[in-house]
């Protein structure tokens, strides 16, 4: 199986779905000739033409809103938000419209839309090119939210999102784009929305998370296994909404010690809900308080290099927290 970059997995998913279904199209800022500011849509306009890979004016609300209209009309738009930090102007269209179209029309209308947005820091992006906006949209029923950590999942989840009959927010991690490579089959497959995945089997502690920090957890787990004999069980949520309750509870029950990790700031993040689900259903199976290791509760990470490093999770931070939990 070919090993490819996370960013290529995303592009391939779009390419293949566009080949498969003429109603799929891409719109956003700089997605055309330039191929996106990260290169995610590179080559698509050349292959599919200007109509299906549309450079839009710089206006996220109408990018989302026109995509919503086109989706209601039966198209399958993929709207790119250049950075997730810049999707907030589209909040009203996403929360008031996309999320509620099926419900408010009692299933008469639907909105099969994908909104792709790059999240995460570590690229010297500073406060406004590094954010994780998941928690703003999480908890809005009617939206689905996915956030893959691997190239395999990125491709499979994006295909699932494009084929999904409901609006899906696809949060791709900028830091993963070129850093994460893994085996991705050439043939068509989808990763089902709503299903978590065990990345590593273990017996001592459970780490639950999504996106980039899981790779730190995996590295830390390897070292902890070698150095301390601590075996971490690692669960990739993959889908943030709807959360895979069974998957979460199973993983938590496996070890009775849970560490939840995400780069988004701690308060009000996805981790709070994961913790609450466990506290609600599994309290008596726990051998330690439920911990969260997340970005700090400041508005956004600074751009200066030591500041950025200080704010981001990394293998060492994960390892320390995991070891502490194992020893609890």
């Amino acid at each position: 199986m070919p090993v490819i970059e996370y960013i290529d997995a995303i592009r391939l998913a779009m390419k293949e779905e566009m080949e498969r279904d003429p109603s799929v199209f891409v719109l956003g800022e700089d997605v055309g000739l330039k191929g996106g500011v990260f290169g995610t849509t590179k080559g698509l306009q050349q292959q599919f033409g200007e109509d299906r890979v549309l450079d839009t004016p710089l206006a996220e609300s109408v990018i989302a809103g026109a995509a919503i209209g086109a989706a209601m009309a039966g198209m399958k738009p993929i709207a790119e938000m250049q950075y997730s930090d810049f999707m907030f102007p589209a909040t009203n269209q996403i929360i008031s419209e996309a999320a509620k179209i099926r419900y408010r029309s009692n299933n008469d209308w639907d909105c099969p839309l994908v909104i792709r947005a790059p999240i995460g820091g570590g690229i010297f992006g500073g406060p406004y090119h590094s954010q994780c906006p998941e928690s703003v949209f999480f908890g809005t029923p009617g939206l689905k939210i996915v956030a893959p950590a691997t190239a395999y999942d990125a491709k499979g989840l994006l295909k699932a999102a494009i084929r999904d009959p409901d609006p899906v927010l696809f949060f791709e991690n900028k830091k993963c784009y070129r850093l994460i490579t893994d085996e991705v089959p050439d043939d068509d497959y989808v990763v089902p929305i709503g299903k978590s995945k065990v990345m590593r089997e273990g017996t001592d502690i459970t780490v639950i998370g999504y996106s980039m920090p899981l790779h730190f957890a995996m590295q830390a787990a390897d070292e902890l296994s070698r150095e301390e004999g601590v075996e971490a069980h690692i669960l990739d949520l993959r889908t943030l909404q709807p959360l895979d309750r069974e998957g979460i509870l199973e993983a938590a029950a496996k070890t009775g010690k849970v560490l939840i990790v995400h780069e988004d700031n701690k308060t009000g993040g996805i981790g709070a809900e994961v913790s609450a689900i466990i506290a609600e259903e599994l309290l008596y199976d726990l051998d330690a308080p439920i911990r969260r290791l997340c970005g700090p509760d400041v508005p956004a990470m600074p751009i200066n290099s030591p500041g950025e490093k200080h704010f981001l999770l990394n293998k060492d931070k994960l390892k320390a927290a995991m070891l502490e939990l194992a020893r609890y």
Partner: protein, 359 residues
């Protein structure tokens, strides 16, 4: 290119290509919208229903603009006062009554949404919401889809002049202008946004904004439905010819309070309102039809009886109709054929229901 004055002895509606039958149908739709509106106001005052938002005085132009469209191919994105639009497109009074009573058979939302929040895929009426102006980008998206698929379909979207202050108005118009999309933007300028008069809403003319987007903008008298028809028809012709969008500002006046919850005497005078009531376009249009020999007092009497019967029957039906069950009110958060995301239903335990609790 203008044909004004070239066909001297033809009547105005015929000049515009409106058949006699169509002219009469337009009139009957106007009076039906008016009758519906008045009836619902009575029902609200009688405590039968909670809330009504009136379109009175705006129906003539609403009907005219809709009749100028192709009701088989075009997409309609009305706003909450657009009874004239949805009745023209084919929604029935019974359906509207079901909506105002919030009953499950309401095709717009099964009684989930406020009345005036229209939607019917069958009738090509796009589902609308309460936050104003969100429908403008949607109309642009419908036009984009039509263009991409090579369909001769035009989308037409209404909003008030207050709503035109929203960013979505600007973003939608600008986007459509660049791509020359087949969409018609209709601003129903009824002079008020709840209590805020137009003078505090904008210092310019809404129609003039089109200049900045590179497409035509027109201001038209809403009390002249034939002129509204003409301008919208022309806009539609331009749209299907690939010439892009048009912005049309229909000058009208909201003679009723903003809604049944509003007391408009807190911010305007009875004199001002009465002044505008005198300009009502319905009697003028009736007189026109009489003048051209298409209408008579006898027909008027028959119409009143016929429409009253429709209203009575609809009211009775809607009043007796059932609500959506509590169980079903949990449905359709997500598509139901998608097992993973089906939402728990049928639970008495509100709050324990959680979206996406899979299986």
């Amino acid at each position: 290119m203008t044909q004004t004055g070239t066909v001297r002895h033809t009547h105005r509606h015929a000049e515009l290509g409106i058949s006699d039958d169509k002219a009469v149908a337009m009139y009957e739709t106007m009076t039906l919208a008016r009758g519906y509106d008045e009836r619902v106001q009575l029902l609200q005052r009688a405590g039968k229903i909670n809330f009504h938002v009136s379109g009175i005085s705006q129906e003539p132009s609403q009907v005219a603009m809709t009749f100028a469209m192709d009701r088989e191919t075009d997409w309609f994105l009305p706003y909450y006062r657009d009874y004239g639009v949805v009745l023209s497109v084919g929604m029935t009074v019974k359906e509207l009554m079901l909506s105002v009573y919030a009953k499950v058979e309401d095709p717009n939302s099964a009684g989930r949404q406020m009345p005036g929040h229209f939607g019917s895929k069958r009738l090509r009426i796009v589902t609308g919401s309460s936050p104003v102006t969100t429908q403008v980008p949607h109309a642009v998206g419908f036009a984009l889809a039509a263009k991409m698929r090579g369909e001769r379909s035009v989308s037409i979207v209404s909003f008030g002049e207050g709503s035109s202050s929203q960013g979505d108005f600007h973003e939608g118009c600008n986007f459509a202008g660049v791509l020359k999309l087949p969409v018609i933007f209709i601003c129903q300028n009824n002079q008020y946004a709840i209590s805020v008069p137009f003078s505090k809403q904008s210092a310019g003319r809404i129609a003039d904004r089109a200049i900045g987007y590179g497409f035509p903008g027109y201001r038209v008298d809403g009390n002249d439905p034939l002129e509204v028809y003409r301008v919208v028809k022309e806009a539609r012709d331009r749209a299907v010819a690939g010439e892009g969008p048009t912005l049309i500002e229909i000058m009208t006046y909201r003679v009723n309070p903003h809604s049944t919850s509003d007391n408009d005497m807190a911010y305007r005078t009875k004199e001002e309102v009465d002044e505008h009531k005198k300009k009502d376009a319905i009697p003028v249009f009736r007189q026109y039809l009489k003048d051209v020999g298409l209408w008579s007092d006898a027909q008027e009497a028959e119409l009143q009886v016929r429409q009253r019967a429709i209203l009575d029957e609809a009211t009775e039906y809607a009043e007796k109709a059932p609500f959506q069950s509590a169980e079903d009110s949990h449905r359709y958060v997500y598509a139901e054929d998608n097992a993973i995301t089906r939402v728990e239903t049928g639970s008495e335990s509100v709050g324990v229901v959680s979206a996406g609790k899979g299986d």
